[in-house]
Amino acid sequence: MINALSLLSQAATASDSGSFEPPTINEFYPEVIAFAGTPFELNRIMLIRLLVTSLLILLFWLWSSKFKKSYKNNTLVPSRFQLMGEISLNFVRKSIAHDQLGEKDGERFLPLLTTMFFIVLGMNITGIIPGLNIAGTSVIGLPLVLAVAAYVTFIYAGVKKHGGHFFTSALFPAGVPKAFYILVTPIEFLSTFILRPVTLALRLMMNMIAGHLLLVLCFSATQFFLFNAEGFFKVFGAGTFVFGFVFTLFEMLVAFLQAYVFTLLTTVYIQLALADEH
Protein backbone atom coordinates (compact mmCIF):
# COMPACT_ATOMS: atom_id res chain seq x y z
CA MET A 1 0.00 0.00 0.00
CA ILE A 2 2.85 2.35 0.88
CA ASN A 3 4.33 1.56 -2.49
CA ALA A 4 1.09 2.32 -4.17
CA LEU A 5 0.84 5.65 -2.40
CA SER A 6 4.37 6.60 -3.31
CA LEU A 7 3.57 5.68 -6.86
CA LEU A 8 0.55 7.93 -6.65
CA SER A 9 2.52 10.80 -5.21
CA GLN A 10 5.17 10.40 -7.83
CA ALA A 11 2.51 10.52 -10.42
CA ALA A 12 1.09 13.56 -8.72
CA THR A 13 4.37 15.42 -8.49
CA ALA A 14 5.41 14.39 -11.96
CA SER A 15 2.04 15.53 -13.30
CA ASP A 16 3.46 15.73 -16.79
CA SER A 17 1.92 12.34 -17.64
CA GLY A 18 -1.52 13.81 -16.70
CA SER A 19 -2.66 10.30 -15.91
CA PHE A 20 -3.31 10.81 -12.23
CA GLU A 21 -4.64 14.02 -10.82
CA PRO A 22 -5.17 14.05 -7.06
CA PRO A 23 -8.23 15.95 -5.94
CA THR A 24 -7.66 19.56 -4.98
CA ILE A 25 -9.74 22.15 -3.23
CA ASN A 26 -10.76 23.30 -6.69
CA GLU A 27 -13.15 20.34 -6.66
CA PHE A 28 -15.40 22.62 -4.63
CA TYR A 29 -15.21 25.51 -7.05
CA PRO A 30 -16.55 24.11 -10.30
CA GLU A 31 -16.91 26.33 -13.30
CA VAL A 32 -19.68 28.88 -13.37
CA ILE A 33 -22.66 27.86 -15.46
CA ALA A 34 -24.85 30.96 -15.43
CA PHE A 35 -25.15 34.51 -14.10
CA ALA A 36 -21.36 34.90 -13.94
CA GLY A 37 -20.23 37.94 -12.00
CA THR A 38 -23.56 38.46 -10.21
CA PRO A 39 -24.35 37.36 -6.65
CA PHE A 40 -26.54 34.74 -8.29
CA GLU A 41 -23.70 32.89 -9.99
CA LEU A 42 -24.69 29.31 -10.57
CA ASN A 43 -22.29 26.41 -10.57
CA ARG A 44 -22.74 22.67 -10.18
CA ILE A 45 -22.91 22.79 -6.38
CA MET A 46 -25.48 25.61 -6.35
CA LEU A 47 -27.55 23.62 -8.84
CA ILE A 48 -27.30 20.60 -6.56
CA ARG A 49 -28.54 22.76 -3.69
CA LEU A 50 -31.51 23.90 -5.75
CA LEU A 51 -32.22 20.34 -6.82
CA VAL A 52 -32.13 19.12 -3.20
CA THR A 53 -34.38 21.99 -2.16
CA SER A 54 -36.88 21.04 -4.86
CA LEU A 55 -36.76 17.39 -3.89
CA LEU A 56 -37.22 18.20 -0.21
CA ILE A 57 -40.17 20.42 -1.05
CA LEU A 58 -41.66 17.78 -3.30
CA LEU A 59 -41.28 15.00 -0.73
CA PHE A 60 -42.55 17.02 2.22
CA TRP A 61 -45.32 18.53 0.12
CA LEU A 62 -46.57 15.02 -0.58
CA TRP A 63 -46.29 14.11 3.09
CA SER A 64 -47.94 17.28 4.24
CA SER A 65 -50.80 16.74 1.78
CA LYS A 66 -51.19 13.27 3.24
CA PHE A 67 -51.34 14.76 6.74
CA LYS A 68 -53.89 17.30 5.60
CA LYS A 69 -56.01 14.67 3.91
CA SER A 70 -55.83 12.39 6.88
CA TYR A 71 -56.86 15.29 9.11
CA LYS A 72 -59.78 16.21 6.90
CA ASN A 73 -61.07 12.67 6.52
CA ASN A 74 -60.35 11.91 10.14
CA THR A 75 -58.48 8.77 9.14
CA LEU A 76 -56.59 7.79 12.22
CA VAL A 77 -54.57 4.97 10.74
CA PRO A 78 -51.73 6.39 8.63
CA SER A 79 -50.77 4.83 5.32
CA ARG A 80 -47.29 3.41 4.91
CA PHE A 81 -46.09 6.50 3.07
CA GLN A 82 -47.61 8.85 5.60
CA LEU A 83 -46.06 6.86 8.43
CA MET A 84 -42.61 7.29 6.88
CA GLY A 85 -43.12 11.05 6.95
CA GLU A 86 -44.32 10.92 10.52
CA ILE A 87 -41.32 8.89 11.59
CA SER A 88 -38.94 11.31 9.87
CA LEU A 89 -40.53 14.40 11.38
CA ASN A 90 -40.96 12.75 14.75
CA PHE A 91 -37.26 11.93 14.83
CA VAL A 92 -36.46 15.64 15.05
CA ARG A 93 -39.53 16.43 17.11
CA LYS A 94 -39.20 13.75 19.75
CA SER A 95 -35.59 12.59 19.82
CA ILE A 96 -34.07 16.04 19.46
CA ALA A 97 -36.50 18.84 20.31
CA HIS A 98 -38.68 17.32 23.03
CA ASP A 99 -35.81 15.42 24.63
CA GLN A 100 -33.62 18.48 25.02
CA LEU A 101 -36.07 21.35 25.37
CA GLY A 102 -39.20 19.72 26.74
CA GLU A 103 -42.51 19.78 24.93
CA LYS A 104 -43.31 23.49 25.17
CA ASP A 105 -39.98 24.97 24.09
CA GLY A 106 -39.41 22.05 21.76
CA GLU A 107 -42.49 23.02 19.76
CA ARG A 108 -41.41 26.68 19.72
CA PHE A 109 -38.08 25.95 18.05
CA LEU A 110 -39.24 22.98 16.01
CA PRO A 111 -39.51 24.79 12.65
CA LEU A 112 -35.85 25.82 12.75
CA LEU A 113 -34.63 22.45 14.00
CA THR A 114 -36.65 20.50 11.44
CA THR A 115 -35.48 22.71 8.60
CA MET A 116 -31.90 22.45 9.76
CA PHE A 117 -31.94 18.68 10.04
CA PHE A 118 -33.49 18.02 6.66
CA ILE A 119 -31.42 20.62 4.82
CA VAL A 120 -28.19 19.23 6.21
CA LEU A 121 -29.22 15.62 5.64
CA GLY A 122 -30.46 16.29 2.12
CA MET A 123 -27.41 18.34 1.14
CA ASN A 124 -24.98 15.88 2.72
CA ILE A 125 -26.41 12.83 1.03
CA THR A 126 -25.77 14.21 -2.47
CA GLY A 127 -22.08 13.52 -1.78
CA ILE A 128 -22.64 9.85 -2.51
CA ILE A 129 -25.42 10.02 -5.05
CA PRO A 130 -24.06 8.98 -8.46
CA GLY A 131 -24.22 11.84 -10.91
CA LEU A 132 -24.21 14.50 -8.20
CA ASN A 133 -21.24 13.24 -6.23
CA ILE A 134 -20.68 16.34 -4.16
CA ALA A 135 -22.35 17.49 -0.99
CA GLY A 136 -24.29 20.74 -1.05
CA THR A 137 -22.83 21.46 2.38
CA SER A 138 -19.22 21.09 1.23
CA VAL A 139 -18.91 24.81 0.46
CA ILE A 140 -18.87 27.16 3.43
CA GLY A 141 -21.95 29.22 2.51
CA LEU A 142 -24.69 26.86 3.60
CA PRO A 143 -23.01 25.64 6.81
CA LEU A 144 -22.34 29.29 7.62
CA VAL A 145 -25.94 30.37 7.01
CA LEU A 146 -27.20 27.52 9.16
CA ALA A 147 -24.68 28.28 11.92
CA VAL A 148 -25.68 31.94 11.90
CA ALA A 149 -29.33 30.87 12.15
CA ALA A 150 -28.43 28.70 15.15
CA TYR A 151 -26.41 31.56 16.67
CA VAL A 152 -29.19 34.11 16.27
CA THR A 153 -31.74 31.66 17.58
CA PHE A 154 -29.95 30.70 20.77
CA ILE A 155 -29.17 34.34 21.58
CA TYR A 156 -32.80 35.23 20.84
CA ALA A 157 -33.98 32.40 23.11
CA GLY A 158 -31.70 33.55 25.95
CA VAL A 159 -32.55 37.25 25.65
CA LYS A 160 -36.28 36.55 25.35
CA LYS A 161 -36.21 34.55 28.54
CA HIS A 162 -33.62 36.31 30.71
CA GLY A 163 -33.24 39.73 29.11
CA GLY A 164 -29.80 41.32 29.49
CA HIS A 165 -29.13 38.96 32.33
CA PHE A 166 -28.54 36.31 29.68
CA PHE A 167 -25.25 37.92 28.65
CA THR A 168 -24.05 38.62 32.17
CA SER A 169 -24.78 35.11 33.38
CA ALA A 170 -23.13 33.66 30.25
CA LEU A 171 -19.99 35.76 30.61
CA PHE A 172 -19.79 35.87 34.42
CA PRO A 173 -20.77 32.36 35.50
CA ALA A 174 -22.09 32.16 39.05
CA GLY A 175 -19.96 30.54 41.76
CA VAL A 176 -16.62 31.73 40.37
CA PRO A 177 -14.46 33.95 42.59
CA LYS A 178 -14.48 37.51 41.24
CA ALA A 179 -10.74 37.61 40.56
CA PHE A 180 -11.03 34.70 38.13
CA TYR A 181 -13.39 36.61 35.88
CA ILE A 182 -10.27 38.14 34.28
CA LEU A 183 -9.52 34.68 32.99
CA VAL A 184 -12.98 33.10 32.79
CA THR A 185 -14.87 35.84 31.01
CA PRO A 186 -12.73 35.96 27.86
CA ILE A 187 -12.82 32.19 27.68
CA GLU A 188 -16.58 32.10 28.09
CA PHE A 189 -17.00 34.85 25.51
CA LEU A 190 -14.81 33.01 23.05
CA SER A 191 -16.44 29.61 23.56
CA THR A 192 -20.03 30.80 23.67
CA PHE A 193 -20.19 33.65 21.21
CA ILE A 194 -17.37 32.91 18.79
CA LEU A 195 -16.51 29.26 18.75
CA ARG A 196 -20.02 27.86 18.82
CA PRO A 197 -21.10 29.07 15.36
CA VAL A 198 -17.60 28.62 13.93
CA THR A 199 -17.33 25.01 15.07
CA LEU A 200 -20.86 24.27 13.90
CA ALA A 201 -20.08 25.50 10.38
CA LEU A 202 -16.56 24.12 10.14
CA ARG A 203 -17.38 20.68 11.55
CA LEU A 204 -20.04 20.17 8.93
CA MET A 205 -18.11 21.60 5.99
CA MET A 206 -14.82 19.88 6.80
CA ASN A 207 -16.55 16.52 7.21
CA MET A 208 -18.10 16.89 3.80
CA ILE A 209 -14.87 18.16 2.18
CA ALA A 210 -12.85 15.32 3.70
CA GLY A 211 -15.45 12.77 2.68
CA HIS A 212 -15.53 14.03 -0.87
CA LEU A 213 -11.74 14.17 -1.19
CA LEU A 214 -11.43 10.66 0.17
CA LEU A 215 -13.93 9.31 -2.31
CA VAL A 216 -12.35 11.17 -5.21
CA LEU A 217 -8.94 9.94 -4.16
CA CYS A 218 -10.09 6.33 -3.89
CA PHE A 219 -11.93 6.25 -7.18
CA SER A 220 -9.44 8.25 -9.22
CA ALA A 221 -6.69 6.02 -7.83
CA THR A 222 -8.75 3.02 -8.91
CA GLN A 223 -9.01 4.52 -12.37
CA PHE A 224 -5.27 5.21 -12.43
CA PHE A 225 -4.25 1.73 -11.26
CA LEU A 226 -6.59 -0.08 -13.61
CA PHE A 227 -5.83 1.86 -16.76
CA ASN A 228 -2.46 3.57 -16.33
CA ALA A 229 -0.43 1.40 -13.99
CA GLU A 230 1.53 -1.51 -15.38
CA GLY A 231 1.25 -5.21 -14.57
CA PHE A 232 1.25 -5.99 -10.89
CA PHE A 233 0.07 -2.54 -9.82
CA LYS A 234 -3.28 -3.07 -11.48
CA VAL A 235 -4.16 -5.25 -8.44
CA PHE A 236 -4.10 -2.15 -6.25
CA GLY A 237 -7.04 -0.92 -8.25
CA ALA A 238 -9.21 -3.57 -6.60
CA GLY A 239 -7.94 -2.44 -3.20
CA THR A 240 -8.67 1.22 -3.76
CA PHE A 241 -12.06 0.36 -5.20
CA VAL A 242 -13.00 -1.58 -2.05
CA PHE A 243 -11.79 1.38 0.00
CA GLY A 244 -13.93 3.68 -2.07
CA PHE A 245 -16.94 1.42 -1.62
CA VAL A 246 -16.47 1.21 2.14
CA PHE A 247 -16.01 4.97 2.38
CA THR A 248 -19.19 5.47 0.38
CA LEU A 249 -21.09 3.50 3.01
CA PHE A 250 -19.24 5.44 5.68
CA GLU A 251 -20.24 8.72 4.04
CA MET A 252 -23.85 7.63 4.24
CA LEU A 253 -23.42 7.34 7.98
CA VAL A 254 -21.53 10.62 8.17
CA ALA A 255 -24.23 12.41 6.20
CA PHE A 256 -26.85 11.38 8.73
CA LEU A 257 -24.57 11.84 11.71
CA GLN A 258 -23.55 15.38 10.77
CA ALA A 259 -27.18 16.35 10.27
CA TYR A 260 -27.97 14.90 13.67
CA VAL A 261 -24.99 16.52 15.38
CA PHE A 262 -25.63 19.92 13.84
CA THR A 263 -29.29 19.91 14.90
CA LEU A 264 -28.59 18.43 18.30
CA LEU A 265 -25.87 20.98 19.10
CA THR A 266 -28.14 23.83 18.05
CA THR A 267 -30.80 22.39 20.36
CA VAL A 268 -28.33 22.10 23.19
CA TYR A 269 -27.24 25.72 22.72
CA ILE A 270 -30.86 26.83 22.85
CA GLN A 271 -31.41 24.68 25.90
CA LEU A 272 -28.38 26.18 27.65
CA ALA A 273 -29.62 29.67 26.82
CA LEU A 274 -33.05 28.86 28.27
CA ALA A 275 -31.66 27.18 31.39
CA ASP A 276 -31.99 29.18 34.58
CA GLU A 277 -28.43 28.56 35.68
CA HIS A 278 -25.48 28.46 33.36
Partner: protein
Protein backbone atom coordinates in the same frame (compact mmCIF):
# COMPACT_ATOMS: atom_id res chain seq x y z
CA UNK B 1 2.86 11.37 2.08
CA UNK B 2 -0.82 12.27 2.24
CA UNK B 3 0.22 15.89 2.66
CA UNK B 4 2.22 15.60 -0.51
CA UNK B 5 -0.83 14.37 -2.29
CA UNK B 6 -3.08 17.06 -0.91
CA UNK B 7 -0.27 19.65 -1.15
CA UNK B 8 -1.50 21.29 -4.36
CA UNK B 9 -4.68 22.19 -2.53
CA UNK B 10 -2.79 24.69 -0.36
CA UNK B 11 -1.52 26.40 -3.44
CA UNK B 12 -5.01 26.84 -4.81
CA UNK B 13 -6.40 30.31 -5.13
CA UNK B 14 -9.56 29.38 -3.20
CA UNK B 15 -9.75 29.58 0.53
CA UNK B 16 -12.52 27.21 1.56
CA UNK B 17 -13.23 29.25 4.67
CA UNK B 18 -14.22 32.39 2.78
CA UNK B 19 -17.69 32.26 1.28
CA UNK B 20 -18.23 33.53 -2.23
CA UNK B 21 -21.14 35.98 -2.57
CA UNK B 22 -23.12 33.58 -4.77
CA UNK B 23 -22.54 30.78 -2.29
CA UNK B 24 -24.08 32.87 0.48
CA UNK B 25 -26.96 34.02 -1.73
CA UNK B 26 -28.01 30.55 -2.74
CA UNK B 27 -27.52 29.17 0.78
CA UNK B 28 -29.72 31.88 2.22
CA UNK B 29 -32.34 31.39 -0.49
CA UNK B 30 -32.43 27.65 0.11
CA UNK B 31 -32.58 28.09 3.88
CA UNK B 32 -35.30 30.72 3.87
CA UNK B 33 -37.47 28.82 1.40
CA UNK B 34 -37.22 25.59 3.33
CA UNK B 35 -37.67 27.27 6.73
CA UNK B 36 -40.86 28.95 5.55
CA UNK B 37 -42.03 25.73 3.96
CA UNK B 38 -41.53 23.65 7.09
CA UNK B 39 -42.80 26.38 9.39
CA UNK B 40 -46.01 27.27 7.63
CA UNK B 41 -46.92 24.21 5.65
CA UNK B 42 -45.44 20.92 6.82
CA UNK B 43 -45.34 21.24 10.58
CA UNK B 44 -48.85 22.71 11.10
CA UNK B 45 -50.39 19.89 9.07
CA UNK B 46 -48.23 17.37 10.86
CA UNK B 47 -49.20 18.68 14.29
CA UNK B 48 -52.88 18.83 13.43
CA UNK B 49 -52.85 15.20 12.34
CA UNK B 50 -50.99 14.07 15.44
CA UNK B 51 -53.24 16.07 17.78
CA UNK B 52 -56.33 14.70 16.12
CA UNK B 53 -55.01 11.17 16.49
CA UNK B 54 -54.11 11.69 20.14
CA UNK B 55 -57.54 13.13 20.81
CA UNK B 56 -59.27 10.30 19.02
CA UNK B 57 -57.29 7.67 20.86
CA UNK B 58 -57.96 9.31 24.20
CA UNK B 59 -61.65 9.74 23.35
CA UNK B 60 -61.97 6.13 22.31
CA UNK B 61 -60.24 4.88 25.41
CA UNK B 62 -62.61 6.96 27.49
CA UNK B 63 -65.64 5.69 25.60
CA UNK B 64 -64.45 2.11 26.00
CA UNK B 65 -64.01 2.62 29.73
CA UNK B 66 -67.45 4.14 29.98
CA UNK B 67 -68.98 1.28 28.02
CA UNK B 68 -67.24 -1.22 30.24
CA UNK B 69 -68.48 0.51 33.38
CA UNK B 70 -71.97 0.57 31.92
CA UNK B 71 -71.85 -3.09 31.08
CA UNK B 72 -70.60 -3.91 34.56
CA UNK B 73 -73.40 -1.86 36.10
CA UNK B 74 -75.93 -3.59 33.84
CA UNK B 75 -74.60 -7.01 34.81
CA UNK B 76 -74.78 -6.09 38.47
CA UNK B 77 -78.36 -4.87 37.99
CA UNK B 78 -79.34 -8.06 36.24
CA UNK B 79 -77.74 -10.18 38.92
CA UNK B 80 -79.49 -8.22 41.64
CA UNK B 81 -82.80 -8.56 39.81
CA UNK B 82 -82.23 -12.28 39.40
CA UNK B 83 -81.42 -12.69 43.07
CA UNK B 84 -84.53 -10.69 44.01
CA UNK B 85 -86.70 -12.76 41.67
CA UNK B 86 -85.27 -15.95 43.06
CA UNK B 87 -85.92 -14.79 46.61
CA UNK B 88 -89.46 -13.76 45.71
CA UNK B 89 -90.12 -17.07 44.03
CA UNK B 90 -88.92 -19.05 47.00
CA UNK B 91 -91.00 -16.85 49.28
CA UNK B 92 -94.07 -17.38 47.15
CA UNK B 93 -93.42 -21.11 47.13
CA UNK B 94 -93.00 -21.07 50.88
CA UNK B 95 -96.23 -19.15 51.34
CA UNK B 96 -98.09 -21.41 48.98
CA UNK B 97 -96.84 -24.45 50.79
CA UNK B 98 -97.88 -22.99 54.12
CA UNK B 99 -101.25 -21.98 52.74
CA UNK B 100 -101.76 -25.37 51.18
CA UNK B 101 -100.93 -27.02 54.48
CA UNK B 102 -103.32 -24.70 56.27
CA UNK B 103 -106.11 -25.32 53.76
CA UNK B 104 -105.51 -29.05 53.95
CA UNK B 105 -105.72 -28.98 57.72
CA UNK B 106 -108.85 -26.86 57.55
CA UNK B 107 -110.50 -29.20 55.10
CA UNK B 108 -109.53 -32.17 57.16
CA UNK B 109 -110.89 -30.54 60.29
CA UNK B 110 -114.11 -29.60 58.56
CA UNK B 111 -114.49 -33.09 57.23
CA UNK B 112 -113.83 -34.52 60.59
CA UNK B 113 -116.37 -32.21 62.17
CA UNK B 114 -118.90 -33.07 59.50
CA UNK B 115 -118.30 -36.73 59.98
CA UNK B 116 -118.67 -36.34 63.70
CA UNK B 117 -121.83 -34.37 63.27
CA UNK B 118 -123.26 -36.88 60.86
CA UNK B 119 -122.30 -39.70 63.15
CA UNK B 120 -123.83 -38.00 66.13
CA UNK B 121 -126.98 -37.17 64.23
CA UNK B 122 -127.26 -40.67 62.94
CA UNK B 123 -126.68 -42.09 66.38
CA UNK B 124 -129.27 -39.88 68.03
CA UNK B 125 -131.75 -40.58 65.27
CA UNK B 126 -131.21 -44.29 65.59
CA UNK B 127 -131.58 -44.02 69.34
CA UNK B 128 -134.72 -41.99 69.03
CA UNK B 129 -136.17 -44.37 66.52
CA UNK B 130 -135.23 -47.32 68.66
CA UNK B 131 -136.83 -45.61 71.63
CA UNK B 132 -139.93 -44.85 69.65
CA UNK B 133 -140.05 -48.37 68.33
CA UNK B 134 -139.56 -49.66 71.82
CA UNK B 135 -142.32 -47.50 73.20
CA UNK B 136 -144.66 -48.36 70.40
CA UNK B 137 -143.74 -51.97 70.64
CA UNK B 138 -144.09 -51.92 74.37
CA UNK B 139 -147.54 -50.38 74.17
CA UNK B 140 -148.64 -52.68 71.43
CA UNK B 141 -147.10 -55.79 72.94
CA UNK B 142 -148.56 -54.82 76.31
CA UNK B 143 -152.03 -54.35 75.00
CA UNK B 144 -151.73 -57.45 72.87
CA UNK B 145 -150.53 -59.46 75.82
CA UNK B 146 -153.16 -58.05 78.07
CA UNK B 147 -155.78 -58.77 75.48
CA UNK B 148 -154.46 -62.23 75.21
CA UNK B 149 -154.13 -62.67 78.92
CA UNK B 150 -157.51 -61.20 79.68
CA UNK B 151 -159.01 -63.44 77.15
CA UNK B 152 -157.15 -66.27 78.86
CA UNK B 153 -157.59 -65.37 82.51
CA UNK B 154 -160.77 -63.46 82.17
CA UNK B 155 -162.20 -60.72 84.14
CA UNK B 156 -159.90 -61.03 87.12
CA UNK B 157 -157.22 -59.12 85.53
CA UNK B 158 -159.33 -56.20 84.49
CA UNK B 159 -157.90 -54.13 87.30
CA UNK B 160 -155.66 -51.78 85.33
CA UNK B 161 -153.04 -50.98 87.81
CA UNK B 162 -152.25 -54.53 88.51
CA UNK B 163 -152.27 -55.42 84.85
CA UNK B 164 -149.80 -52.69 84.02
CA UNK B 165 -147.43 -53.87 86.69
CA UNK B 166 -147.57 -57.40 85.46
CA UNK B 167 -146.86 -56.31 81.91
CA UNK B 168 -143.94 -54.12 82.91
CA UNK B 169 -142.30 -56.77 84.96
CA UNK B 170 -142.74 -59.20 82.16
CA UNK B 171 -141.16 -56.90 79.65
CA UNK B 172 -138.23 -56.12 81.88
CA UNK B 173 -137.74 -59.79 82.28
CA UNK B 174 -137.79 -60.10 78.49
CA UNK B 175 -135.28 -57.35 78.12
CA UNK B 176 -132.91 -58.86 80.58
CA UNK B 177 -133.20 -62.14 78.84
CA UNK B 178 -132.57 -60.58 75.51
CA UNK B 179 -129.43 -59.06 76.79
Amino acid sequence: MISRIIAPAAEAAHNPLLPAPADLTWSAVVFVILLAFFWFRVLPNFKKTLDQRTEAIEGRLEAAEKAQAEAAAKTANIEAAQAAARAEASQIREEARAEAAAIGAEIKEAARLDAERYTAAAKSQIEAETQAALVALRAEVGSLAIDLASSVVGESLKNDKLAANVVDSFLSELETKKK
